[in-house]
Symmetry: C5
Subunit: 323 residues, 5 copies
């Protein structure tokens, strides 16, 4: 489905749901900024787009085949941008990455996506709010859309960060054994998030450092801002990864220590039991001449020996901290 | 065996199986694009190639000696490209890398390979399909061939990715011990795939950033596309490697935990058995004066003690989660 | 709350607590250097600032939303700088990072912070002391402020370094088990400190290498000095991180060794006990014909055997260092 | 000992064993290419060289003191190159690195080495074979020599690679315990090989990327070839290192698993033995009223109980895979 | 204490212990090269230096506060260089890094240090010896001083390398347990040495690659030589670090293997003892009808059973290599 919105930068009027066939006419007027949002595109939609905007067949191909890398590609007359919106869905917080393809031309923006993208509504709303700003072209619109997408990663990272605090508490506080699987799952999420962000960061870095800026002077500062947010998200992800590997190390050490303590204790107890069993064994020997056996309180003496040896060993092992 | 195909870019006609001796004549006409595919080359073939196309003896040498690094080298008048096609063969999914040497000149493409290359058929088919595109030169043909080779890595990586999901399931779900060997084998495969891709990626990166592009303007966008696919494959490999090392870590931790649990249990059971054996040992002592021995229900009492102590210890150890 | 201080570079006089509405007038005179310190800013303060100094709304936005990355951004007419002051607070030495936003213009400096910043007092004091230096502009003031902030990291790192020496002593000297948690906490602190410093270092690196220096020639050497201190702090942090991971490795090895020793000992003792128990078990057999049982000193002989076997095994195990 | 060989590039005649004093005269004629090979140099040789060819005293110093880093240094009028030939010697395959110093001037090549260098004979032979090539200067000779040295690393790496395959077999197949020491020794070898190759690779990378090529146009392609071989060797080394660390990981995991299995088994057997010993212990108690003791088949019953309990436990432990 | 030495480059005469107040006059003559060595500087010395040579107060500040990073800073008219001399002192080979500050001007060199620096004597001696070289300016003097300092690291690294060979022997040969602490101490030393060298290497790299060389053409080759030595030292340190971590890995593996062997043995012995104890336990049962008990050689039979079972188990466990 194609939804076309058009802004007259002179009158600052936004007309919604323009008919698709009008696009060609609207584009002729450089005062118009056109946003064509294509959701759940059909094969026909792709053909129409390629024809109407004269998109290169390679970029249309990339758009058609999902699972592209996040990227910014320069074609003659427009930029082709691929990025991903992220969210945690379902009761198990499964990470979902939704692809958003953007064609950014002089005075138009075409967005293509097969799943609903939250950032589109946000950008739509801010577009209207920012009408009073001096800059109102397609570049600003692209900025609003990309920035909304990128900023959406931060609350998600906050959730992951909180999970990791929980994990940490359970390592140094009340022990839970299933920590490894949780660490593994978070690691995987961070890996996917990283893959969705760092290529974009690198591309923006290159784009912004170029001698002749690809964005008009006025919007340059906005894309600098997007870049700043991309670095921030990427840095956050890296910090979380570092932290996670520290947490993993801590888990392994603490887990090893706990196990060691248990084994030391159990083996110490075994040693005590063996020692006292030896006493019982000795008085179980069948020698004819064993004076103690005939003592009045021989049995009591043996039992007391058993207790005494047990207690002494216990105290000793406690002291050397093996128990 | 040398197979020569010739495209007349003016008439858009492809003539197959041109006689080898005609190459010299065909090359004179810049409208012709010639593709000479040399499979299983003989020593004579190399000499003929070097003479006909005036190839530098170093590039012929590289072609003759297999196991070159993937690379793009610039010689006067042509590029010499080495790349590898990958596939998993046999019941054990052994990784096979098949070398493909490409000489890319102004209006000719020479491919040399000692084993059959799937991408050649693909490129041949697409060449015909794309005849209506504006660009039809040797550069486009090279693009089709390289892209077909590179894209072939993706399904292979998908297979490896599925294997890794299986491994993960077997780690956190139903346990299989042979996971290490599988991880090791996948690691090795990824290492070889990486070696076959990353040098190409780096070379393309350098080639595409040059001030004066080595490819004509029109084909530049195609090689940009190959570069994009190379990055995508390389990124996928890196992600799989990261994931694999996480999987390895998880395996080791879970394996350690399972072992620890078993040892804790066995040692706990030992402790219980030792404790009750002590009781038996005590009543096996031969003291003359041991009142219990003469009790009517002494034996029953002893057996009950054994059971009681055993159950109590079992309950305790269960509670502290050592059993 | 806004506190305005103004220096007349001609007369070298500093007037404190200038009324806020005078800022506009004061700014007109290029001989004046104005420092407006905004602590605990209200929404109104931000609006006033933006209006008075004509700050870009993106920089005001960054100022309003805390938790920005440390950075230096170039806007038309001024630089926007974010950095963090660090200190350890409370009995548990919790790391606190306090954000400081700086707007550095031609002849003014605006500092915005929601928590008290120690470096502000230091910079204020040094400003006065350095009045006799040739350079007295806003750049120098920014230098004093940034340098005071950066230098403040060094004593903090010294404290952490001392902690680590303690940890090391407790690993190779008198053993403390809780080392892991301390290592983990220090690691986390270093991670946060690193995040607060390295982005600044990288930005300064870029700024100082530019063809056309952003700071006037005279202050360039000062910012070179800040950069030098930033590298020093960052290097210190990296060294501490390296050291910490060595300490962690050492802890794990030493801890493993200690545990191994204990287990070897306990198991060796078990072996001794089992051996002597076997002797007791043998003489506890009920055979009718067992000559030793009838010996006069059979019992003594058995006890001596037990002692002899025990001592011999003990000596042997001691010799092979298993005990 | 100094051996001087001289090529007249006009007549393509090589004169061997030219008298040393003639060097000065021969050098005057730019058509001559002179190769002075100094093996086992004396102090006098160094003085003579410095005087005859006007070598800078720093390069002579480097030549005199062995154990330099592999490098290419530019002096006025000549290049000074240090590289290492590698081979495995003796029954224990000790890695030997033999230093080769090369002075490459306009029309002369001076090689200095204190141990015999295989590559010199190879280069000497190829020099003659390549006389028909258009390029015959000192640059080509240097290429032949360096390339022979670098190519010599490949069979050596193949040997190491085969060793590693053996190691791998012994890890996943029939177990050998001494794997660690072998891994350690290979690691050390790879480390030294890496040190001998990567500095050269980096220097060539810089030299070949320079705006104004240091080698004449015609030989540039040859040095590009050397660079390609250097990368190939360095890549091979890195791949082997990666593989080796995987092998080490695999060894540790498999070794850990084997140990765990053994301990589980032994402890399981202990548990079985303790259980049945308990039965014997019970019937060894001395209670007066123990009906079983008087049973006709009490003994048989006890023995059967022992066997039954033993078998049952064995079966159970086998089922849960602890035995 | 300030010691001033002055070389007249025209007459090649060195005058020692020139009076401090003469410096100003001597500096006027560009033929003079002045070396002012300030050891154990007082506050007054710093003030004098700053005044006499017009040093920037930031560089004087750096000089005053010890523990700077090694660095080379460019001030107007001179370079300020900080480097460290290293040596192992005392019976425990504690690493000592002694700071040396150098001010390098057109025709003067000022060295400031609070502890005695060996390299100063070396440089002094070589200065005289090299008087016959064409280049005799302050740059050469700086070269001699820096090179003497840097070269001093090599014997120190050789000592560390020998220690590591000892460690290796003790790991694979006769075992010593205290290896971890030694490894840790060497690691720390290498970390500090690295910190003292790599910043210098990086600075020299930048300085030497600059378009317009900071050193005059003639001395450039000397500083190239210092850079080469810096790389060599840094490479050596990195190699030692790599080796050390291999040694650590080897230690852990071998240590783990040894422990495993001991535990396997001890547990195997336990199993044997338990088995034979079972036999004794069986014949210790009090059944009325136990035919063996009445056998003539029942006791001998039992003892033989015990021995037989023990030997059989021992042989079995030996065969499966658990003992």
């Amino acid at each position: 489905m194609i939804t076309v919105t058009c802004l007259n930068t002179a009158t600052k009027e936004i007309s919604e749901n323009c008919p698709v066939p009008d696009i060609s006419d609207l584009r002729q007027n450089p005062q118009h900024v056109i946003w064509a949002d294509v959701s759940d595109p059909t094969s026909q939609d792709f053909t129409d787009l390629a024809e109407e905007f004269d998109f290169h067949h390679l970029s249309i191909e990339d758009c058609r085949n999902e699972h592209q890398r996040p990227k910014v590609e320069e074609y003659s007359g427009y930029y082709f941008i691929v990025l991903y919106e992220a969210s945690l869905v379902g009761p198990n917080d499964v990470l979902e990455l939704r692809e958003l393809n953007i064609f950014l031309g002089k005075n138009y923006l075409v967005t293509v996506h097969s799943r609903p993208i939250r950032a589109i509504a946000t950008a739509r709303r801010l577009w209207e709010e920012w009408l009073d700003k001096s800059e109102t072209g397609a570049g600003l619109l692209a900025y609003l859309l990309i920035d909304a997408t990128v900023d959406d990663y931060l609350p998600l990272l906050d959730i992951i960060s909180e999970r990791m605090d929980d994990l940490e508490d359970s390592i140094f506080g009340e022990w839970r054994a299933a920590v490894i699987e949780e660490i593994f799952m978070i690691k995987k999420k961070l890996l996917y998030l990283r893959r969705a962000i760092t290529p974009l960061r690198d591309v923006f870095n290159t784009l912004l450092r170029r001698e002749q800026p690809i964005f008009p002077r006025e919007t340059h500062v906005y894309f600098q801002d997007v870049f700043d947010h991309l670095i921030r998200v990427a840095d956050n992800i890296d910090t979380l990864r570092d932290m996670l590997s520290s947490t993993m190390d801590a888990y392994l050490s603490v887990s090893g220590n706990r196990m060691n303590k248990v084994m030391k204790r159990l083996t110490s107890v075994s040693t005590i039991l063996m020692s006292v069993t030896l006493i019982a064994g000795i008085y179980g020997m069948n020698f004819v001449f064993m004076p103690e056996l005939r003592w009045r309180y021989g049995y009591v003496f043996a039992l007391l020996s058993i207790v005494a040896v047990g207690v002494a060993l216990y105290a000793y092992l406690k002291k050397v901290d093996w128990l």
